[in-house]
Amino acid sequence: MSIVPKETIEVIAQSIGIANLSPDVALALAPDVEYRLREIMQEAIKCMRHSKRTILTADDVDSALSLRNIEPIYGFASGDPLRFKRAVGHKDLFYIDDRDVDFREVIDAPLPKAPLDTAVVAHWLAIEGVQPAIPENSPVEAIVAPSENKKSDNSKEDGLHVDLKLPVKHVLSRELQLYFDKITELTVTRPESILFKEALLSLAADSGIHPLVPYFSYFIADEVARSLNDLPILFALMRVVRSLLQNPHIHIEPYLHQLMPSIITCVVAKRLGSRIADSHWELRDFSANLAASVCRRYGHVYHNLQSRLTKTLINAFLDPSKALTQHYGAIQGLAALGPGVVRLLVLPNLEPYLQLLEPEMQLEKQKNEMKRKEAWRVYGALLCAAGKCLYDRLKLFPGLLSPPKHKVWRSNGRVATSTLNKRKPSTIHSMQQPPFKKMAVDGAIGTMTTGSQGAEDRFPTQSSGAGMGQSSAAGQVSVEAIGGRRAPTGSAVLAQAWKEDLDAGHLLASLYQLFGEGVLSFIQPVEMSFFV
């Protein structure tokens, strides 16, 4: 009944030389022992509280015992928490590991280092209620708004304004300087080492490096400009940027203006790296994603951030005099900003651009293999961007391609694959563009006014020759399917739905027409099954 079993009492009795303790006595003593234990612990907790601690130590128990005029238990006082070990074979029996200490060892051992002496250091926990971001303070999540307010307050007081800029230079402690030197050295000399990876982790998580941010941003800008020919360094620099952006404790916004040009450089530079074999494509992709993530995170603070970025990128994209590598970077950059941007900025220019790209990709027109490869890269990037955009659209209308008539699809699909197996469809497609557009409009009108039958009939017949109308028909037919279902819910909703669906349908159609079946891989699996 008490947590101290009477067997324990008997064992203790034996250990102090009382051999024949009657069981009744043990039974009576057990609860009292438990009570006394609790009493001592209660006093020990008091002592702990007055020592301003929240962890009970052996010292506290000793003081509690001395409060009750009991001899303290010797041998347990130590600064460290006691390490208990589980006795082998028992579930809840523990003992303290107490090793034998050989005197000789102790005497021979060199003197241990003297422990550091107690000292007091002072720092500002808060200045007028605002915590300064110094290493002594715990990291604060949002140091942005109030500190800025305060600055503006201070600057109102005349005469004091000048002092305000000064602190930045003085903040850097020796440790921080060492840290900075080490990191920059690693970045430039050994970007492949494991140590550098550790450094990146530290950059991404450390709370005390805020004072270094201006130095890092300057270093990155400087180094990117200097080592455009050195791909590994560029990559390392971009990784550093990413780590800095990830760090939740630093306040990087004031330095974005310095970082963004470097990032964009790594996206759309004409030449990155010195050797042909260098995989500068990866760097472009990486930096493009980086730029996009900056836009996503700080876009709401700086409204013109994204617009400036897209302007730079679209300029690079639409300028035929720029190199293909630059085009590639621009496309990746835009694609990373999301399907919305692609739909708005890339797709309208897709057709003329592909016409431009076409000759570069063909063996007979572009003799330089290097150039041709680049052109195919760009083509791939475009396809990917457009495809993602399409995927995104289609996702909005999951019912879009639900199959009203399986047979039609099968046959059309077969036609499509057979015709498009040849790898030069774009010329034909672009030639046939105008009639198709008209047709699509026709179809739309047809479906809206006359109903389903007419349009459905007209489409396959008109487009079967080229084998490309099927995808537009996909849009159309499914529109009908949806329209048919929704008919009773009201004409306004219906019209809206049709319009949206038609958009997606058109998109698919024109993309298919431009890219061939490559684009089909971006349609969700469910729909895919109808096509292939």
């Binding site: 509280r49 020592s51 130590t57 600064g79 550091l116 720092h123 500002w124 808060a126 303070n137 004091l160």
Partner: protein, 654 residues
């Protein structure tokens, strides 16, 4: 026979008139009478007692939990007292094993509200222990008081009558007083207010709390000195050329470790603030009081210095928060027990568990080092940094040896020339910071002295101890002047009232008491905390008191009424220290959860004056939480200029 006749007539009368409540009450009363007359028999019935208790309780519990939602929370309040007393009855009856089982079966229900009480009661294993534990004694001797609405009360009575469970009825009758209020049931929030231990202790408290107390400030205080010239020559004051002030400032500013820039700004603010203060002081209409103790005379220079400080005080309010300078003790190996900071922040003392006392000097230079290296680019930085380099060999602190046990508390005299320390060796020692030596050893307590505090004017000090007393001393006598006895457990902390006529003590018995220094009488008892009280602070206007406990709750008390103005909830661990800003608008609290929190006092007291008890206003009052880097905050001290100093020992979380 006649009696029965009368009773019948009465019942019939009540029934006729429709006084059903009265009728029930009457029947209840009769039952009680009959029960108490039967109590002799009940002893014999205890054979099957244990089962009746747990059965009765579980039935009551089931019924309370399944009652109507509207009245449920009121009925649930009954459960805890019944639970406790059932358990104690069982123990008292010798059914220890059954009591254990009963205790653990229903323990979970009450853990959230009464964890600490349960922990204490858990240890009770024999009838003897009941006598030994204060808590159980106080439960036994006093009655719980439960407020509930009429209908809930009726429901309870009906239940008790219907089920014929005499045990439960007996427990309820014996140990619970109902305060039945007409109308709707009260809101379910704030259960604590409705279940209180009533009885002798509370009667006593009520009685005591009716005594008159004069919480006004001392007449002829320095603050008044200050205010008078201000109101007289308000314009002249403002016209003082700013230049002259700035010239004076760097000297003091350097000493206090305040950046020059800040002080200048403080200056401007305080100019504006002064008008505000004179208004507020007009609002608080407490008559000034004469000191009961003979106060030591203050030196003219000291007075001048204080006046200077008061003049350059920053006005703090919920918009203008203080700057906080934090002194971190490093390499303490968890041995730092307490620390204190002198009024001007230039001295820091730490009491250690190895009986030593370390007084750190030159905090001004330490402060300056930090300042110059990280905050302020001053020209003198180069010069200053040369200084410690030459003196680095010297220890940065003075070691005071003398105690023979862990030092639990230290306090600086108001002007920093003396230091008091209290220790587990049951002595208090007075040290001189000028001579670096021990002056006096005060022996009087019989057990460890938990806390010692200088009075606001110096010379006198108060101590509190494990021997359940608080004592008042004067520096020149080695015997205490007064002994305040009355607490039921350790007196854990002590604090002087602003006018030096009262001291407040916080105890492990979860009460705070206010004592008259002159008569040594207890003049107020503040009941409401749920765990031991660790820190106390008095507002500078003398009207309010704040107390912080082990659970992290801070309570603000109105001294004149003895009521809790409002609980301030926010800390998650022990509140080690509390401090009011000099004009009393802010309360700072430091806690083991490694934060300093700033609370708006004006809002909280105003809200209570308007008697708006909505919980939303409760939340509003936390102005700011400032986390430290794994440093529990041991002490807080507002300087006369309203710069907040804080100290703590860096404890690495393992």
């Amino acid at each position: 026979m006649e009696e029965e006749e009368i009773q019948k007539a009465v019942v019939a009368y009540l029934r006729k008139k429709g006084f059903t409540n009265t009728e029930l009450a009457l029947q209840e009363e009769q039952n009680r009478v009959s029960f108490s007359s039967n109590s002799d028999h009940s002893v014999s019935r205890l054979e099957n007692g244990p089962v009746r208790y747990s059965d009765g309780y579980s039935k009551l519990r089931l019924w309370a939990y399944s009652s109507l939602d509207l009245y449920k929370h009121e009925l649930l309040r009954v459960l805890f007292p019944v639970y406790i007393h059932c358990f104690m009855d069982l123990v008292a009856g010798g059914h220890v094993h059954e009591a254990r089982i009963f205790f653990h079966t229903f323990r979970e229900d009450h853990e959230s509200m009464h964890l600490r009480d349960l922990q204490k009661l858990e240890g009770i294993l024999s009838p003897l222990h009941l006598e030994e534990i204060e808590l159980s004694r106080s439960f036994r001797q006093n009655k719980f008081k439960i407020k509930m609405c009429e209908y809930s009360y009726d429901l309870l009575l009906q239940y008790l009558q219907k089920t014929q469970s005499f045990t439960m009825r007996g427990v309820i009758n014996e140990h619970i007083d109902f305060e039945v209020s007409p109308g709707q049931p009260t809101l379910s929030s704030g259960d604590a207010d409705f279940v209180t231990i009533e009885g002798r202790k509370n009667d006593l408290a009520r009685q005591i709390n009716q005594k008159e107390i004069h919480w006004g400030l001392l007449e002829d205080s320095l603050e008044q000195h200050l205010e008078r010239p201000v109101s007289d020559s308000e314009k002249a004051e403002i016209l003082i050329p700013v230049n002259s002030l700035i010239q004076k400032r760097p000297l003091d500013g350097g000493k206090q470790g305040i950046p020059v820039k800040m002080v200048k700004k403080d200056k401007l603010v305080s100019m504006v603030g002064k008008n505000v203060r004179s208004e507020t002081s007009a609002v608080s209409v407490a008559p000034r009081v004469k000191p009961e103790l003979t106060l030591p005379a203050t030196l003219v220079e000291v007075e001048q210095a204080i006046l200077e400080d008061l003049r350059s005080r920053v006005q703090l309010n919920n918009l203008a928060l203080p700057s906080i300078s934090f002194y971190t003790f490093i390499n303490t190996c968890n041995r730092l027990n307490c620390s204190s900071i002198s009024q001007d922040g230039s001295l820091v003392a730490g009491g250690f568990s190895d009986s030593s006392l370390k007084v750190v000097w030159d905090i001004s230079t330490i402060g300056q080092l930090v300042k110059t290296s990280s905050l302020q680019g001053e020209k003198e930085s180069a010069k200053n940094e040369n200084f410690p380099a030459t003196e680095e060999r010297r220890k940065p602190y003075t070691l005071f040896h003398g105690h023979s046990g862990p030092v639990y508390s230290t306090t600086f005299s108001p002007f920093g020339e003396f230091l008091l320390s209290s220790s587990s060796d049951s002595t208090i020692r007075l040290w001189s910071t000028k001579l670096n030596t021990n002056l006096v050893c005060y022996k009087g307590h019989n057990y460890p002295v938990w806390d010692v505090q200088f009075s606001p004017v110096g010379h006198y000090f108060a101590s509190s101890s494990h021997d359940r007393t608080a004592r008042i001393w004067s520096m020149e006598r080695i015997q205490p002047l007064r002994i305040m006895a009355g607490h039921l457990s350790d007196v854990d902390c002590v604090q002087w009232h602003a006018n030096c006529n009262y001291i407040a003590t916080g105890s492990s018995d979860k009460t705070v008491r206010l004592w008259d220094v002159q008569s040594g009488e207890c003049v107020r008892i503040f009941i409401g905390h749920r765990s031991m009280i660790l820190s106390l602070a008095m507002s500078p206007d003398g009207r309010y008191m704040a107390s912080g406990d082990e659970d992290g709750t801070i309570m603000m008390w109105d001294l004149s009424s003895g009521r809790c103005v409002s609980p301030l909830v926010g800390h998650s661990s022990c509140v080690w220290t509390l401090a009011f800003s000099c004009e009393g608008t802010l309360l700072a609290s430091g806690s083991a959860d490694c934060t300093v929190k700033l609370w708006d006092v004006t809002a909280s007291t105003r809200a209570s004056r308007m008697e708006s008890k909505s919980s939303s206003s409760n939340r509003l009052r936390l102005l700011k939480a400032l986390p430290t880097k794994s440093t529990p905050v041991y002490t807080l001290q507002f300087s006369r200029r309203n710069l907040l100093f804080a100290a703590g020992a860096l404890s690495k979380c393992s």
